[in-house]
């Protein structure tokens, strides 16, 4: 019993210290000292203790944001600068670092924040309201399989992103896909337009139109797809609700989806996104679940893995950029991507995807495997 009492007395000062309140003056002056000395980790730890105590100020949020920024945790930096902005919406320093944090974390909100910068800062950084070409991208994909009746598939895409203001962007893609099935050539040129509108820093509205110029042999089977989505971005979390409608020659498909994602703290920017989709087609319903996880391996290299379960017949993803309307539906899909950033303007994408395909109209459940090798380039002006 007395040993327990001795132990209690030994740890009593620690317990007492842990309960001592930090206070504004101490928190403010210590965070400032850590800021001057560049002790970013200590600054982050102390700031979080202070914020949990309710000790808060614009300068403390700015210092915490800068500390996260310097350690490469741009998502956390952005969250701190967002908080600093609630104290003073006209602070140019806050707005500038909020923009840089969004830019470095790959957030779609970077253009929205760019619009909030002062005229002098916009001029200094060369930011303009309207950009006919923000970036161009291209993608090539070769899909191989082991069946004798199906040839390899080829897919090409070329796209242009335009900034129609600080809050509105338009992506237009032109793609082409072909495959020979039982000696009949299927060709499918496509056009897609995706419009994104940031109502504010939290809510984004998306609309898309995708036209499929499908031709099997000499017969045309055109298809039209429309999509509407609303997404919210709050701190580390994203939520999206979307609905789309595909009217093809032979079938009409309705798709509704819910998506949720989160970014973990830390400079590796580990993120997870899960989406659940309901498909309605010819009076039958089915569900598709997709899970994505990604992280930043180094300053210039990102990787992402994904897995999709369910029958993907006429399923569309990435705001209808991709429509899975091949004759043989995919029933399982998994892939891995690597994105390498070369300098400020160029990024290179490499992807390998494994698909399990079900042979169309087969009386028995005949499946085959498909292996996709994709490469892409993106040039940001």
């Amino acid at each position: 019993m007395y040993k327990l009492l001795i132990l209690m007395f030994m740890f009593f000062p620690i317990l007492g210290f842990s309960q001592a309140r930090l206070g504004f003056q101490k928190a403010d002056s210590l965070t400032y000292q850590y800021y001057l000395k560049g002790e970013w980790n200590r600054l982050i730890t102390l700031s979080n203790v202070a914020f949990n105590e309710g000790v808060d100020s614009k300068f403390m949020r700015q210092r915490a944001g800068y500390a996260y920024f310097m350690t490469g945790d741009y998502t956390s930096a952005g969250i701190q600068y967002e908080k600093a902005l609630t104290f003073d919406q006209h602070d140019d320093l806050t707005k500038e670092y909020l923009y840089y944090s969004a830019l470095n974390s790959g957030s779609e909100k970077s253009r929205f924040y760019a619009g909030k910068l002062s005229a002098e800062t916009k001029f200094k950084l060369g930011i303009v309201k309207f950009k006919s070409v923000d970036y161009v991208d291209t993608e090539f994909s070769l899909k191989t399989n082991q069946t004798t009746t199906r040839s390899n598939q080829n897919y090409y895409r070329f796209g242009i992103q335009s900034d129609l203001g600080y809050a509105v962007s338009l992506y237009q893609g032109f793609s082409y896909y072909d495959q020979i099935i039982s000696n009949v050539l299927t060709r499918q040129p496509e056009y897609v337009a995706i419009l994104k509108w940031n109502l504010n820093s939290v809510i984004q509205i998306k609309g898309a139109y995708h036209h499929l110029f499908t031709k099997i042999g000499n017969q045309s089977y055109p298809g039209n797809l429309g999509l509407f989505a609303v997404s919210t971005h709050i701190n580390r979390f994203t939520f999206e609700a979307n609905a789309s409608f595909l009217k093809a020659s032979s079938v009409t498909t309705k798709q509704v989806g819910l998506q949720a994602g989160m970014v973990l703290p830390g400079k590796s920017t580990v993120y997870f996104t899960g989406s659940l989709v309901g498909m309605s087609e010819s009076k039958s319903l089915r569900a598709i679940y997709s899970q994505t996880a990604g992280l930043k391996i180094s300053k210039n290299l990102w990787t992402e893995g994904n897995i999709t379960l369910g029958n993907l017949k006429n399923y569309n993803t990435f705001n209808s950029l991709y429509v899975y309307n091949s004759v043989d539906p995919t029933v399982f899909r998994s892939g891995i991507s690597l994105i390498y950033f070369i300098g400020k303007h160029l990024s290179v994408l490499g992807n390998f995807t494994f698909d399990q395909q079900k042979i169309n109209n087969s009386a028995t459940n005949n499946y085959y495997y498909q292996y996709s090798y994709s490469g892409g380039l993106k040039w940001k002006l």
């Binding site: 504004f24 808060d56 104290f87």
Partner: protein
């Protein structure tokens, strides 16, 4: 007899409550007195502690006092909380809002400071402090038109107040009302001869007039 008994009981109860209230008032006055002494000695934590035994959440004066003392003790979060309670108890009391502005300014929460000044101006549209400082906020945000409107109110009330006159002059200059700005800078020089801010303002106006004259002759 029964009536007399009831009357006696009522009088007794009244006397007890009166004595208790008097005791409470004495306790509160003593606590405030001790708190003032501690404050004068710059012992703000002790000044807060003296108030605690008599503090009531529904008492306006206690909340104002604790808001002020916590501000002095640099406990800004707590200070804001007490001032907010006081504002909720007396929504038309300007002093509570002016008090709340102090800790809000200390933590640089200019959005909330702006809100409080706007609320004061809803209650008292000609409040000099609110008009002047809200004008300064707008001026710092380069919203010179809004700043001009507010400084004008103060200058109309106090034409010899140097700070308001010079701020109005600069706001007018930034809204390209050069004639008004010139008159105001000259007025500022009467109030405060050789004032560097007014002289630099007049210099800028003269340069602007010269460049305009040259361009009109080209």
């Amino acid at each position: 007899m029964e009536t007399l008994r009831k009357l006696g009981l009522t009088i007794s109860l009244f006397l007890i409550s009166f004595v208790m209230h008097a005791q409470n008032i004495t306790e509160i006055q003593a606590a405030f007195s001790k708190s003032y002494i501690a404050e004068n000695q710059k012992n703000y934590i002790q000044a807060i502690d003296e108030m605690k035994p008599v503090y009531k959440a529904g008492d306006y004066i206690s909340n104002i006092r604790l808001g002020w003392l916590n501000y002095l003790a640099k406990q800004y979060g707590e200070s804001i909380t007490f001032y907010r309670k006081a504002i909720a108890l007396k929504p038309y009391a300007i002093e509570a809002r002016l008090g709340c502005i102090k800790p809000l300014s200390a933590i640089e929460n200019w959005e909330k400071v702006k809100e409080q000044y706007q609320e004061i101006l809803k209650i008292d549209p000609l409040n000099t402090t609110a008009n002047y400082w809200l004008g300064v906020i707008y001026f710092n945000r380069k919203d010179y038109k809004s700043a001009t409107n507010l400084f004008e109110k103060v200058v109309n009330l106090y034409p010899l107040d140097y700070d308001s006159v010079i701020m109005l002059a600069w706001s007018k200059l930034n809204t390209f009302s050069h004639t008004d700005a010139k008159l105001l800078f000259q007025q500022a020089l009467i109030i405060r001869p050789n004032d560097s801010s007014a002289l630099s303002g007049l210099q800028m106006i003269n340069k602007w007039l010269e460049s305009n004259l040259k361009s009109s002759f080209k």
